[in-house]
Every structure is written in structure tokens, then in C-alpha cells.
């Protein structure tokens, strides 16, 4: 196996604290109330938001606030081995933690008895899809005009070889020592999504968290830029 990091350079020539290229476009779908398309390294992700709208089935509605639904879904051709259509255990877990991450950023009490549905389609997957998906969903929610206290920006950091690095690529994820995807609310820096697996000392974990938070701040800038562009385009029309 080739080394994942050598002379401070990673296989794709990135520095340890360097993120893969990220670009976001808001308002790409016509029928959704809000949407966003995102490319992050080789990841391609599209998010669509519907709502607030009538809650179906009605018995799950909440008289105090809107309920949130989140569906993370991979296209069959998004990975080398065909992904069987439909939810599996992994996507169900990702949908759950993503939904919870967004809940604290949204002002749901304005829309009792309604639901807001978020659908994210992963068209091309190359490590980091849950961060890509959550980041796109947050832009789509803003695009839909759902009132938010703050955005949610997500990024992972991890450990390859002996080093803590930002935003693991596919081979780094497969052969690395630990992966820590997080999401924060950029204004406060509070962590709203946090998962980890691998093998880290507490010190390394702390360092990873700090680096991932920095990544989230960069992601947040891209989110703002996408929304601004959309806004300017609409202004210009």
C-alpha cells in the first residue's frame, strides 16, 4: 500500500489542513420549494426541500412546531458496485443524525402542524457524502425561505498515518485511522452533528475537532456565496 501522506503532501497533493474543491449552487430544481447542487471533490449531491406544508400522515403532526423529515438517498450508479435502490441501515442512520443536526438551526415553532421535507440525492459518492449532503440541505432550506437561526455547515477531519488531516478523500477514508464528520452552527461554533470511528487519543480527538470546525467555517463561506449569487441573479432578473 502506498503511503497516504508523505512529506506533508497527501495522495491528491493536498496539504493536511486543505479541503477538496467545493462549489455550491442554490435554486437548481424547478419543482422543489428550495434546492441546492453541490460538488465537493468528486462528490455530486443535490438537495430539494418541500414545505412547510400539510403534514402527511396527519397523526405524526405536532401542534407546537413543524416536523422535519430528512431522506439521504444514494443513486444506484453513485458508487462502483451498484447501490440497491431504497433505504438501507446506513442511509437511515445518516438521515436521522442529519435531521437532528438541522433541527436546532431551524425556527420550527413558526409552523405548527406542518412538515418540512428534505430530500438529498447523492449522484456521485467519494467519501464525505454525509457532510456534503447536510451542507447542501442547509442551503436548500435557506433557498426555500425556511426561517433559520443559523446555517448548518458540515465537514470531516480524521487521521491518516500519524497526522490529523481535513476532509478525507476516498482512499484516506478506507485506509485511514479515524474519521470524524461534524457539523456546526457557524455563528456560535456549536456542534450539532458529531460521529467518530477509528482509534484516537483524546488529544488527537481534540485536534481533529478543531480542524473539522475550521473546515466547517470554510464550508459556511461557500454556502453564503451560493445564496448571495442566487439572490443577485434574482435581483438582476
Amino acid at each position: 500500500m502506498t503511503e497516504l501522506i508523505k512529506n506533508g503532501k497527501r495522495q491528491d497533493d493536498r496539504k493536511p489542513e486543505e479541503m477538496r474543491d467545493l462549489s455550491i449552487e442554490a435554486g437548481v430544481l424547478k419543482r422543489a420549494d428550495g434546492s441546492a447542487y453541490l460538488e465537493w471533490g468528486s462528490n455530486k449531491v443535490i438537495a430539494g426541500v418541500f414545505g412547510p406544508q400539510k403534514c402527511i400522515p396527519q397523526h405524526i403532526s405536532n401542534p407546537y412546531k413543524a416536523i422535519l423529515k430528512f431522506r439521504y438517498n444514494m443513486a444506484p450508479f453513485s458508487v462502483d458496485d451498484r447501490k440497491r435502490p431504497g433505504p438501507d441501515r446506513r442511509s437511515t442512520e445518516i438521515s436521522k443524525v442529519s435531521k437532528e443536526a438541522l433541527e436546532s438551526a431551524l425556527i420550527l415553532r413558526h409552523f405548527p402542524n406542518t412538515m418540512i421535507e428534505i430530500f438529498v440525492e447523492v449522484l456521485q459518492a467519494a467519501a464525505g457524502t454525509r457532510c456534503a449532503s447536510l451542507t447542501a440541505a442547509s442551503v436548500a432550506l435557506a433557498d426555500a425561505g425556511v426561517p433559520m437561526k443559523d446555517m448548518v455547515a458540515a465537514c470531516a477531519a480524521g487521521k491518516i498515518g500519524d497526522e490529523v488531516v481535513l476532509d478525507l478523500a476516498k482512499e484516506e477514508d478506507n485506509a485511514g485511522k479515524a474519521d470524524v464528520p461534524i457539523a456546526i452552527k457557524p455563528k456560535s461554533g456549536d456542534i450539532v452533528l458529531l460521529q467518530m470511528d477509528g482509534d484516537l487519543t483524546p488529544e488527537e480527538f481534540d485536534e481533529t475537532l478543531s480542524l473539522a470546525k475550521e473546515g466547517c467555517m470554510k464550508v459556511s463561506e461557500e454556502q453564503q456565496k451560493a445564496l448571495q449569487e442566487k439572490y443577485e441573479m434574482e435581483e438582476g432578473e
Binding site: 430544481l29 419543482r31 444506484p76 450508479f77
Partner: protein, 259 residues
């Protein structure tokens, strides 16, 4: 369907059709703007993104090696599927209509299968033992009508530009391009909607919801290979034959747009 404001809208679409007009000012026999992007998914060895107006779909191929069917031991296998998911339209909020999705898969599959466009014998690796399985997956992102034509266009494009993966030592190397996919013809589908007694090409979603009857012709450079009528209305034999002829022209028009 039992919705009041929708009934008003639908009546309006019927009135327009009566006059030979459409909401978006289109000619009765004209496609919306078409955009075709081959190799849209880097991960896939064959893929395409196709937009017809606001309808936006991605098709991608996946590959496996498996047993042939016992009644065609020297032929590869194709499996066509689609995800007509909730992201594509608020219509599907309470779950997509399963029968529509199945009809879509089966009709675009027939376009490719019955036309003989794909030489399934070239997908045989070892008779009776091992053949290529090609999964043709259609993923619908934005749905504004006429999924039949868009899906067939995307699959034909993906197949035309597609490669099999390398297969060595009983292993599939998904990352490495092998031989070209043996696509011999370019099957195209053209769908017409009948609203009242007027017939129009390439219905958008609201036209689909208002239509009385629908007919899809699947043709190749060589001739007709499949037909599917839908909707609760009817066609006369003359209407069928007249639009089959139109279909050959429109198919040629689309075929030229495939890069």
C-alpha cells in the same frame, strides 16, 4: 384529481388545445428545449444527464457478472429501473405511484430490448456460465412531464458513450474501461398526448395530468419496435398511424442531438 382549482386549470388546458395552443406557446408538434450531457457521472462507465424543458434526469449504468437465463444461455442481461422519488415533484409526497414507475421502466426497457439495439450476445462471457449484467438506472431529479422520452434518450446516450468495465481473473475492475458497449442502433421514444380530440408532442406535467390518452412509439433507424398506449381515452387507427409517421421524424431529430 378531485381538486377544484386543478379542475379549472385542466379545463383551461383543454380549451387551449381545442384551439391548437399550449400554455408555453409551443407548437403542437415541438419538443421543449433539450439538453444532453453524456458521461455526467465520473464514477459510472456510462451515464448521461438529460433535460427536456424542466424535466431533469440522470441515467447511469452499473455492471455485474452473473448467470445467463436458462432460455438464453449465450446472452447478457439488462435490468432497467428508475427512482421516481419525492425530490422530483410534490406530487409524490405520499410515496411515488408504484404502477407509473413500473410502467416507465418496462416501456423504456422494451425500447432497448425489442429493438435489438444492444447486441446481448456480445455481452456473453462464457456460454451457460457467465454473462454481463447491465443495470440501467434512471434517477429523476425534476419532473415536468414526459419521462418516457427523456429516460430513453438518457439511456441511449449512456449506452452509446459507455464501456464495460475490465474483467480479468474473475474480477470486475469497475474503475477501468473495457470494451465499448455493443450498441448497434439508437432507440428513441416519442410520446404524444391527446387532449380532447387534439394531439400534441412532448406533454409537460400539467398536460399529462389533463390528457385523455397517451401514445408512445419506440423506434430505431430501422423501424418500429414498441408501442404503449396509456390514459383512459382512446385513439382511432388513423390517429395511431398518422402519429407513428410523425414519430419517425421526431426520433431522427432527437437522434441527431445525441453527442
Amino acid at each position: 384529481m378531485g381538486n377544484l382549482s386543478w379542475n379549472v386549470k385542466s379545463k383551461y388546458i383543454h380549451q387551449l388545445a381545442e384551439k391548437g395552443e399550449r400554455q408555453d406557446k409551443r407548437d403542437m408538434y415541438k419538443y421543449r428545449e433539450i439538453d444532453i450531457e453524456p458521461n455526467y457521472i465520473d464514477n459510472a462507465l456510462g451515464s448521461a444527464r438529460v433535460k427536456i424543458g424542466e424535466t431533469d434526469i440522470v441515467a447511469g449504468l452499473s455492471f455485474d457478472v452473473g448467470d445467463p437465463y436458462s432460455d438464453s444461455p449465450d446472452k447478457g442481461v439488462i435490468i432497467t429501473n428508475n427512482e421516481l422519488g419525492p425530490i422530483a415533484s410534490p406530487e409524490f409526497e405520499s410515496g411515488p405511484p408504484r404502477e407509473d414507475s413500473i410502467e416507465l421502466s418496462r416501456v423504456v426497457d422494451r425500447g432497448i430490448r425489442e429493438s435489438g439495439a444492444l447486441d446481448l450476445k456480445e455481452l456473453c462471457i462464457e456460454e451457460r456460465e457467465k454473462v454481463w449484467l447491465i443495470f440501467l438506472d434512471i434517477h429523476i431529479l425534476d419532473y415536468n412531464g414526459n419521462l418516457f422520452d427523456a429516460s430513453e434518450l438518457a439511456l441511449t446516450t449512456a449506452l452509446k458513450h459507455g464501456h464495460l468495465p475490465k474483467y480479468e481473473d474473475e474480477k470486475i475492475h469497475h474503475k477501468e474501461e473495457g470494451e465499448k458497449i455493443p450498441l448497434k442502433k439508437l432507440p428513441i421514444e416519442n410520446t404524444f398526448a391527446k387532449i380532447g380530440d387534439k394531439i400534441m408532442l412532448d406533454p409537460c406535467l400539467e398536460e399529462e395530468k389533463s390528457l385523455d390518452a397517451r401514445i408512445t412509439f419506440s423506434t430505431t433507424e430501422d423501424g418500429l419496435c414498441a408501442v404503449q398506449k396509456g390514459g383512459s381515452g382512446s385513439f382511432t387507427q388513423e390517429e395511431v398511424m398518422k402519429h407513428l409517421e410523425k414519430s419517425f421524424d421526431h426520433a431522427e431529430e432527437l437522434r441527431k442531438q445525441i453527442p
